[in-house]
Amino acid sequence: MIAPFGRRRASVVENATSGGYRIITALDAEGPVPAAGQFYMLATEHGWSGDGERPFLPRAFSVAEATSGSGGVRLSFLLEDVGPGTHRLADLVEGEGLVLTGPLGRPFSMPRELNPDAAGAILVGGGIGLAPLAIWRRTLAEQGIAERSLLGFRDREHSGGLELFRCSEVRLASEDGHAGHRGYVTDLLELMLTGDSAATAAVYACGPPAMLEAVRALCEAREVAAELAMESPMACGFGACFGCAMPLRSGGYLRLCVDGPVVRAADVETALVEGAGHR
């Protein structure tokens, strides 16, 4: 999906608490409906570098939900207050302006594009990284494609967003054992790939770099087709700054903003890139 040229103002319609996270919803009167996996560069209309302090650059966020209706497209973003940018975004109140550019980047591929024998999709999310999988799950369900979601969290304080997975087959993991399997979400993936035939799997993952790397290595070892929705600091989001470099297996780097954020797991050397992940 091509984005309108330039920034525009969307109006915040809701800022909801979801566990340790927030779900910010804004009405984008102008923009198109994004494809699952695409992202937006976000800033607040007021109080963003206005006093010369951080945040200065906009922040990249995958869209978690998008519904078209009267007045425009309702866009929801899942965020965790971890730094000056997310702190200001988490403070948004109804009626405030969310300044955005997007939708940007390469979305998820259909399971059959990843693996011609795919029987369905396995979605693997870690923490705040469940955001793009939420809209992807909905897209797949609307097309009648079977999907199962595996979601992992560090602990109670670092979890949330489960309401984005309503009416979905979800299995949980938590490192502190407060919900579901005590351990990593990749334990669940390993079990699923053992029980199922890996030959008919298509895996989609988003989460912290260590989790993505575990998924990448697991899928490589089992020869499972996978796409990773990756994260990197970005100054622009549209290919201008070359700041979001990710090492390619074939040598050199890709620009995560235009060549991603969704990349084929087989294309990247590692998901453990210094500076990657959200902050």
Partner: protein, 299 residues
Amino acid sequence: MSDAGPTTLCGIELQHPIINASGTFDAIAARLAFGDAVIDRFPFSAYVSKTITPAPRVGNPPPRLWEEPAAMVNSIGLPNKGLDGFLGSDLPVLAELPVPLIVSVMATSVEQFAPLVEAVAARDEVAGLELNVSCPNVHSGLIVGEEPGETSALIERLRPLTAKPLIVKLTPNVADPAAIAIAAEQAGADAVSLINTIKAAPLLADGRPWLGAGSGGLSGPAVRTIALKQVADVAAAVEIPVVGMGGIERGSDAAALLGAGATVVAVGTASFRDPLAAERIRGELEALRREVAVPAGRP
């Protein structure tokens, strides 16, 4: 007082005085993200390409970015397809832009610079060249743009190769940029552009560098008054046109650089935050010019 309307830069006709800083707007990637609106509403009156080098470069290892109050540090490392890749795949696409094309080039020796300049200047699609001299001379080990002698030796060698405008991009990382500008002018440069980024190194609490390459360059509103000082000094020292840049966020910033003696101004980091920042800045500049009866002052 400079106008906000049509102007010329060493013979290149421009619809208005706002161009882009090299490496801050990828017109090809922008068309993929935003479609043909990029052509229909192209915000710059000339397009300055990312720096092209003789051979392809992959760029620096990540992390490449660091955010500062009202600024950012980048250490990208000039990733590009090299001369052949540029001429073969990028130039035909850039030629579709509705504005004159200025190609930024860099090499690490006079011997490598000369064929690069010749090959780029020979193309009809190219209106002018910007020489990125923030590179070491592999023979002397000196940064060309930091030494008047190195700068004039390079320009003297390149000047006979083309009649097209040669714009020398000056570094701010010297005590006296005007001395470099004078050397460039005397050696035959058609214009100078400044400022490039200011050397900077974000270091963590344990002393470890954050950037993959160790250090980088600072840009953004925080460098604006440094740019104003250096542009004013250089414009006072040379007769050739000056392309002024550094932290332009608003029309009043552009007006101040034009007032300091710049012929045209370049928007850089502001385009990262808003791809249409230059269009807004131009509108604000025009509005300021319509209010000439009102004494100029910062808002």
